[in-house]
Symmetry: C2
DNA sequence: CTGTGTGCAAACTCTTTGCATAAGT
DNA sequence: ACTTATGCAAAGAGTTTGCACACAG
């Protein structure tokens, strides 16, 4: 999954998602998908882009993150305090949420199972199950 | 748990939580705990109080909800879109989250178990586990 | 009385939007 | 050229905060 990406692969990926491979989108794709699984929030990514010398407005970062999410390239993880993190790992996995510093950490195993789940109310079906394990400092 | 509460019971409960039983806090406690399990957001509760003829400012509602949460009388449930719901059921249970209308519904069973959970990272311990089952309209 | 709680409005954070400009094809 | 994306700044939702006044003990 995280082979050696090249700019043209990013462009192709964006194209097939129906997104024009603009400078900004390619740059963001590169940061997001070029280096393993990541959890970023919009502001952090914007800061990173700026630090890398790319000029991308915060609004564009937000737009792009949502476009990528719609295209299935990212998964949105809303957390406490109204921030939204975006996870480059779109597979069905779960997270530790470290309350102290507001960070998400992947649960290093796909082995979680949820047992004893009742049927959903009439007319609704399960989209997916989020298990968030909240962690606090071990006193 | 949801016996017939009386104002003086509310006052006692507030007292033992180290909170002075002010008019506003008693009124809010009454709305929250006087009628079974509830999921409310600050604005809804404020609207309800206003509708009931109580004059309580939104800021006070927020303050009070957080005080109650700190006192263990409520549980905070942050959901998508940056809103925070408060659940009067503080026991360890879980929720269906209906994406279509942003509502939480208690999962009508305590039988959910999470299996296969790895140990948390060094120095951290599990505070609690939230299982949120996201529901969408059944096609 | 004395300290805590409340109300108000302003501030704050995160996010979205409108519209002129710029870039992709 | 023609269309779609970007940037900016302003608006928006939800929540928090500072400070003077009010109320509980």
């Amino acid at each position: 999954m995280t082979e050696s990406w090249t700019p043209s692969l990013f462009r192709a990926q964006l194209r097939s998602a129906g997104l024009r491979p603009t400078r900004q989108r390619v740059a963001l794709a590169q940061m997001l998908f070029g280096a393993g699984d990541r959890h970023v929030c919009a502001e952090a990514l914007h800061g990173e882009a700026t630090a890398a010398g790319e000029h991308i407005s915060l609004a564009t970062v937000y737009n792009t993150l949502h476009q990528f999410t719609r295209a299935g390239l990212l998964r949105a993880l809303p957390v406490d305090g109204g921030k939204t993190f975006f996870d480059t790992n779109t597979s069905d996995h779960n997270h530790f949420y470290v309350e102290a510093d507001g960070k998400m950490v992947d649960i290093p195993s796909e082995s979680i199972r949820v047992e004893g789940l009742p049927a959903p109310p009439e007319g609704l079906k399960i989209s997916h199950i989020d298990v968030v394990v909240r962690l606090v400092k071990d006193s």
